[in-house]
């Protein structure tokens, strides 16, 4: 191009690097502002329930941050959120929406339980890693199915994953009442829907006495770093991101788009499966009903809080876990119906996703204002 155009472009292209700092500040402070607003509305609800909102919110804060047990509880909660969220991140980067984490957690938990019970006599150094791998594989099967259906038959993944969640639930019901049922319960005539206790050699070590915090948390953080490296440093990650941002351009570049979409769902399933394994091996030491605890859905929210970035997900899932734990503490402290927790969380989620646009817009406006003066002079 000619010299003139070069000059022209230089003058009209803003230097995008400069406003980065305050943009970042705005971006990070906005979700908190939104959360604050949501809690403000929650305060009105609390007042209607004749509960002092200050007392209630203080209970959240003190409950989580005021004691070792509160902190460990929030970490225990954050662990499956982080793990599930990582899968959601990978899928989202390939522009695939994974609603199926609930089912994938179940499969992972089933895989871990069956494996650990089948190879009870193995030493811990062999049993723990192999159980984790099996659970990853089991979860990825449940991610592969919708992935394959999408790649091969263009079946919408929202639909197939919703269906597969229901199927996984029934599968667990069936196994935990049949082959996997705790024989002690049968003997005692209680017929409880839970598996036998796993061998201690398969337990993830507890880190702090009197708490459920276990090495699973470190596994999850390690995985987050691995996923970050995977997505941003490897060729496969590069392709997954390309597919997610522009499938057409990716296809034109020789990337097998359906394959990478299926792969991302399969990996997402694997991470959700690991979450299931950590719940079984680190928290409950057995398979029981309600093992997913809704992490499949709240993991999506945590992933969003983390900006769909594996590293952002680490603080985000901790924050979200704290919120969940704190809400429980509040419920106990001021004895409000537990449904209020869902109301508060729903408001927080709505306000936080809604606020993303505002921060983007404000950032743009600031940029435009700062350039106005320059423009007028030229």
């Amino acid at each position: 191009m000619s010299q003139d155009t070069v000059v022209k472009n230089e003058s009209s292209q803003p230097n995008k690097e400069k406003p980065k700092w305050d943009e970042l500040l705005l971006k990070t402070s906005m979700p908190f502002l939104a959360m604050f607003t949501a809690l403000l509305i929650g305060a009105v609800v609390l007042l209607l329930l004749q509960v002092n909102p200050f007392e209630a919110y203080a209970a959240i804060f003190v409950g989580v941050f005021g004691s070792v047990s509160g902190l460990t509880q929030s970490l225990v909660k954050a662990t499956p959120l982080l793990m599930v969220g990582l899968g959601i991140c990978i899928a989202f980067r390939a522009s695939v929406i994974n609603i199926g984490a609930e089912g994938q957690i179940i499969l992972g938990a089933l895989g871990a339980t069956s494996w650990a019970l089948a190879f009870k006599e193995w030493p811990a150094w062999a049993l723990i890693p192999s159980t984790l791998v099996v659970s990853f594989l089991a979860g990825s099967v449940w991610g592969f199915i919708p992935g394959y259906l999408k790649a091969r038959f263009k079946v919408n993944e929202i639909l197939s994953t919703v269906m597969l969640n229901a199927i996984a639930l029934q599968l667990m019901n069936m196994l935990v009442r049949g082959p996997l049922i705790d024989q002690a319960g049968v003997a005692a005539g209680t017929y409880l829907a839970q598996s036998e206790k796993l061998p201690e050699t398969s337990w993830l070590a507890r880190l702090i006495p009197q708490s459920l915090l276990n090495t699973g948390t470190f596994i999850a953080i390690g995985m987050a770093i691995l996923v970050y490296i995977f997505l941003w440093r490897t060729t496969i990650g590069f392709r997954i991101r390309a597919v997610g941002l522009n499938p057409d351009a990716s296809r034109y570049s020789g990337i097998n788009v359906p394959f990478y979409q299926a792969l991302s769902l399969t990996l997402a399933g694997g991470f959700a499966g690991l979450a299931g394994a950590i719940e079984v091996m680190g928290v409950h030491h057995r398979l029981l009903e309600g093992i997913t605890s809704g992490y499949g859905f709240s993991g999506i929210v945590a992933a969003l809080f983390g900006g769909l970035h594996p590293l952002g997900l680490i603080p985000a899932s901790w924050l979200f876990g704290s919120l969940l734990v704190g809400a429980d503490k509040m419920q106990r402290a001021v004895q409000v119906p537990s449904a209020l927790i869902d109301v508060l969380l729903g408001l927080v989620v709505l306000f936080v996703v809604g606020s993303a646009y505002l921060s983007k817009k404000w950032a743009a406006n600031r940029l435009s204002n700062s350039k106005k003066a320059n423009g007028a002079q030229s």
Partner: protein, 516 residues
Amino acid sequence: MSNSSSPAQARITSVEMRNIVKRFPGVLANYNVNFDVKAGEVHALLGENGAGKSTLMRQLYGLYKPDEGQILVDGKELVFNSPADAIRSGIGMIHQHFMLVPTLTVTENVALGLSSTREPMLDLDLVEKRVLELSKLYGLKVDPTAYIWQLSVGEQQRVEIIKALYRNAGIIILDEPTAVLTPQEVNDLFAILKKITAQGHGFIFISHKLHEVMAICDRVTVLRDGQMIGTRSTEGITRDDLVKMMVGRDVKPLPLQDHPEGEVRIKVAGLRAMGDRDAETLRGVDLEIRSGEILGIAGVSGNGQRELAQCLTGLRRASAGTILLDGEDITHMPLLQRMSAGQAYIPEERMQDGAIREFSVQENLFLRDHSAPENTHGIFLNFKRMEQRTREVVKEYSVKTPTIETPIKNLSGGNIQKLILARELSRQPKFLIAAQPTRGVDIGATEYIHQKLLEQRDSGTAILLISEDLDETRSLSDRIAVMFEGKIVGIVKRNQATVEQIGLMMAGVSMAEAMK
């Protein structure tokens, strides 16, 4: 629709924009621009990519609000908050990327947004009748019951014009209407424009092709860098004057040069393929391209050019026939392998297929070659080498970007096209497919791209050029192959055939007959 089914209604006769200022974050898109257009004239708006033409027009059409300045319709100042306001005031706009809903019929697209005589029910039968009337009155041939996705680009454009006329637009904006048209379609369009202008409508015409401006416009306004350079009558003005106003210097057409031909690089024989709609669109194509040769494909769009390019790149499966690259059969080779075998491709839809808006300059540059051995350590990307290479390429191709980490959505269209060009050429391909490489690109950038393509040819690459701009095809190609209905009708050497003769062949006349 009730209001315009009465054609007697008065139509506006003039529009004026005064001292328009429009800013975007970090960009002064328009600064103190004055512009006006009257019924019965075609007023051209000229300027390089990013000069602010579309932005100015979007304000006139109510899509953006001016930061400063006034808009006057028939002398009365008006404020447009949305396109609805502009439409109501008698202004129509036809965008370069058509604003049509592909899954709706022509009639439904016209009826969209209008109130019906039978609210809440649609009165599609009445709309259809009126569409047929308009189409007869102005010579705009379309089938009102067809779905938009079934129509050719030219037909879609006619639907756009009907949409504007249906809404009783007195002044109609055409933003780069010819960029996507074949020469025949351009001629048809000009005939239609003349007819409509004669009936008391005014047009604003944006184009990067100066001969079109000279051919159809009465006045021309030039923008540069958001500012107004001036308004002239096209009478007595030359192409060179306009270029100087736009670019600030002279840009001369490339001198044509012959050059020695090499070995046969690519050999296509009996190639057949299905189109998107389950009909055979490639019906036995034979051609050869030699090393150091540009073969141009001329043809009315929809005659198989797209499918040919896709078969050659590996994006579409050939149902019969063979493709040989340096003697090796690559007919069923996957795209990735062909790329490493030395094939490169500049896709037609550059933003859609050629690049990823959110990716950085560097990432886009390695969109295709990121897994080449020199760019990786195992499964890990070799950032150091990629960064270094990006810096070199950006410099060599003078891609203007703040940093190599900048997402390309922040780059101008011309720079994006240069980046794609850089990506494809810098791998030193044996064979390059260039589809519409300068569509919508301004004069300066076009000159640059042409020069690069010729340099590549001279270095021994075989180039297949697919362009709907016959001038471009004629000025760059060593040989021109004319396509009609999925076959090559004839191949002529440069200067062997006149525009008219090529045009005849494009219409399906056999080579022997056309050359008589």
